[in-house]
């Protein structure tokens, strides 16, 4: 399993606060926030709310019958000619992947982005066997070269400037210095294209696993997920056990919630539906397909009525983008695979509170995360619960002082001026500030009063990211 460094939250956060490049890159989260707001407006708020309610309802039902749906999923994958492996923990999952790779005499593995494989730390395991395991999502590739953890669920290399990427490529790939971002992406395209064409095994994640048909659904933009599931002889997909959804048509409920919340896209460039290996009469595709379903602490969350809701998460990243704390301390402060508000819940839940006991305090409990969450997951409530688990007593009397003062620092910086304030999240609907309606927040320490005052701060100018993202007709030759 990937090493847990969450106990170093304070020093890691302080580092980010003092790093100008990182602060600038975190400022760019405004693009994601604005994209989301626009995408929901286009979809229609009422329709959106109905979709969101339905998605919650399906998740509730799915988790209540999780054993049945997983049973169905696994049998359907087998019926489609795929192999299933249920892994209790990361070690078991890694051992299985290693076994499959060894059995096929695999030399090169191409990986598409998967948070669960990050959780497992499977790339390192394969490399220790002498197998080249290449991350192929551009952001993941960059952080793999830099030997770092993903900074953001959706944008793993969010914190890297183009100069840093250029230096990294120069140092490791030996390519000339390059200041143009399109050219930098072009370098990665070239290097990775070769890997795609020679790889023996593809590893992918699964945004959803459909019980009804045994289909895994992968939501991607670059095309690397399609490569990983089309070109190599063997495909191994990994998924957290909570990613199962009952029926194929439920994808139509979750997909808009995911892409519109994550990047503001009405749909991602590619959505791949993979059901077992290639069919007999198909031209190409993997001859063997494996699905690894991972528990790794999730059943503990399932058993805890106060934490179960965190398993509704579809990993859209909206809560990271909205969070004033994430917006200042960045992703690495959280010290493991899942950063931001949902990370502050998931990490202590999966690895145990003692190894991550600062994380539940890494929040101002402003409620912005819950307000933007497409599944309406009540993250602040769970953070309070984990706080009391962390101190074994009433949270308000035992808040670790150093984390609290760090939060106040974050706070002061956040409300210090319009530019910084833009970080604090227009993503949350300012008009419905949770303070007024959530009794649980009343006991909060003084900085919260600053938050309420900040409502009248002018809105920072936002670059028309959504327009850039969607309307770039004629710019593709750049």
């Amino acid at each position: 399993m990937t090493e847990v460094l969450s106990a170093r939250f304070k020093s890691q956060a302080a580092e980010a606060l003092g790093n100008v490049t990182i602060q600038e890159s975190l400022d760019r989260l405004v693009n994601f926030r604005q994209g989301r707001v626009d995408a929901i407006a286009e979809y229609g708020q009422d329709r959106w709310d109905a979709l969101s309610d339905r998605a919650r309802e399906i998740k509730r039902d799915t988790l209540e019958h999780l054993d049945e749906y997983l049973d169905q999923l696994s049998r359907q994958v087998e019926r489609a000619g795929g192999h299933i492996f249920f892994a209790t923990d990361a070690q078991e999952a890694n051992d299985y992947v290693a076994k499959v790779a060894a059995a096929h005499d695999v030399k090169t593995v191409i990986k598409s982005k998967s948070m669960v494989s990050e959780e497992m730390g499977v790339a390192a395991v394969l490399e220790s066997m002498g197998i080249e395991a290449v991350e192929t999502d551009l952001g993941e590739y960059i952080i793999q070269l830099a030997r770092e953890a993903p900074y953001h669920i959706i944008a793993p290399a969010l914190h890297k400037s183009k100069e840093e990427v250029s230096e990294l490529f120069q140092r490791i790939l030996g390519t000339p210095a390059e200041s143009d971002i399109t050219a930098l992406a072009g370098i990665a395209r070239q290097v990775l294209r070769e890997k795609f064409l020679q790889a023996d095994m593809g590893m992918t994640g699964a945004n959803f696993g459909v019980a009804e048909t045994g289909t895994i659904v992968m939501v991607t933009n670059e095309g690397n997920g399609r490569m990983c599931s089309s070109l190599p002889r063997v495909q191994v997909a990994t998924m957290g056990m909570e990613r199962v959804i009952p029926r194929l048509r439920d994808v139509a409920t979750y997909l808009p919630l995911l892409t519109r919340s994550a990047t503001g896209q009405r749909i991602s460039s590619y959505v791949s539906f993979v059901t077992g290996p290639r069919r007999r009469d198909e031209e190409d595709g993997p001859q063997e397909f494996h699905l690894v379903i991972l528990d790794n602490g999730r059943s503990r969350m399932l058993a805890d009525p106060e934490l179960r809701e965190a398993l509704y998460c579809i990993r859209c990243g909206a809560c990271l983008n909205a969070c004033p704390v994430y917006g200042k301390v960045g992703g690495h402060a959280y010290g493991w695979v899942y950063p931001g508000p949902i990370g502050a819940v998931v990490t202590p839940s999966l690895v145990g509170v003692p190894r991550a006991k600062d994380l539940p305090f890494a929040s101002t409990l402003c409620g912005a995360c819950r307000d933007v969450c497409p599944l309406k997951i009540d993250i602040p409530r769970m953070l309070l619960k984990l706080r009391s688990d962390a101190v074994e007593g009433p949270a308000e009397t035992r808040v670790p002082r150093r984390v609290e003062s760090l939060m106040m620092r974050v706070w002061r910086r956040t409300v210090a001026g319009p530019r910084l304030f833009s970080l604090a999240g227009k993503a949350a609907s300012a008009a419905q500030w949770p303070l007024s309606r959530r009794g649980a927040l009343r006991w909060l320490p003084p900085p919260l009063s600053g938050w309420t005052r900040s409502r009248d701060f002018p809105r920072a100018a936002m670059r028309p990211f959504r327009a850039r993202w969607r309307n770039h007709e004629g710019r593709h030759g750049r």
């Binding site: 309802e57 039902d61 209540e64 054993d67 997983l70 489609a80 299933i84 249920f86 892994a87 209790t88 551009l138 952001g139 960059i142 400037s161 183009k162 971002i181 990775l192 064409l197 048909t213 045994g214 933009n221 670059e222 095309g223 690397n224 490569m227 089309s230 070109l231 056990m241 194929l248 048509r249 439920d250 994808v251 139509a252 009405r266 749909i267 991602s268 460039s269 590619y270 959505v271 791949s272 539906f273 993979v274 059901t275 077992g276 290996p277 290639r278 198909e282 031209e283 190409d284 595709g285 528990d295 059943s299 058993a303 805890d304 179960r308 993202w469 969607r470 770039h472 710019r475 593709h476």
Partner: protein, 235 residues
């Protein structure tokens, strides 16, 4: 090592130890009912909507009155991208328009990416697709709401034609346009119910390959095609 039974039993334990609102009366897993599906808009509206969303999704969108006109468009596209060689799938619509002849006449080569049809072997097919400037495919459906084309690979329809070349031309007929993702999924379920083998792969393609992983700056064509055309034939 956890086998299925053990793994699932562990989940059952977790569920029963929780005092969550599980009603013991719930015998089988019954997902909530779907909301009533919205009324189907007329086809002309769908095409108009598709034209709008296609532009937003960065497709180059072209309408063609008939197959001949579509073939002419494709030849123009291939010329524009300096294609010496075009790879294509065996979709009926491409056969009907005699695309090979049209491309050959214009001095280009057209290669069918198909082993099962007595063409190239696996390695040669991959090399050919990777070296081609343009890939042309038919589609299985088009979603108007998101300008997504559904591609279901099968005999004669390689996954690679729409993936490896830097330019992808997707050719659809007007009657393939549906309103929403849900329609496509319903169609797939019907096909699945009839199919002998329960396995299938499907890609929804909704514009060019994109990334914004460096400084959130959009770059197209990072791994998949960076330039995509959608040609719709008929009214």
């Amino acid at each position: 090592m956890a086998d299925r039974e053990q793994f699932l039993a562990n989940i059952r334990d977790a569920l029963s130890s929780s005092n969550h609102s599980v009603s013991p009366a719930q015998a089988g897993a019954q997902p909530p009912a779907r909301p009533d599906s919205v009324e189907k808009p007329p086809p002309s509206d769908l095409l108009a909507q598709l034209e709008r969303t296609a532009a937003l999704q960065s497709w180059h969108f072209t309408r063609a009155a008939d197959e001949n006109e579509a073939a002419a468009s494709i030849v123009e596209i291939a010329k524009e991208h300096g294609a010496g060689r075009v790879v294509r799938t065996a979709h009926d619509v491409l056969e009907r328009m005699a695309l090979d002849a049209a491309l050959t006449e214009a001095g280009m080569e057209s290669v069918l990416l198909a082993e099962t049809l007595g063409g190239l072997d696996a390695q040669a097919r991959q090399d050919t697709a990777a070296a081609a400037a343009v890939g042309v495919t038919g589609v299985d459906a088009v979603i108007a709401e998101t300008a997504s084309v559904a591609l279901v690979p099968r005999r004669g329809m390689s996954r690679q034609a729409s993936l490896l070349p830097p330019v992808h031309v997707a050719v659809a007929t007007a009657d393939q346009v549906v309103a929403s993702l849900d329609d496509v999924l319903a169609l797939r379920l019907d096909a699945l119910a009839e199919a002998e083998e329960a396995t299938w792969y499907m890609n929804l393609v909704s514009g060019p390959s994109r990334t914004a992983d460096i400084e959130q700056t959009l770059v197209v064509g990072v791994h998949g095609p960076g330039v995509v055309y959608l040609v719709v034939i008929g009214e």
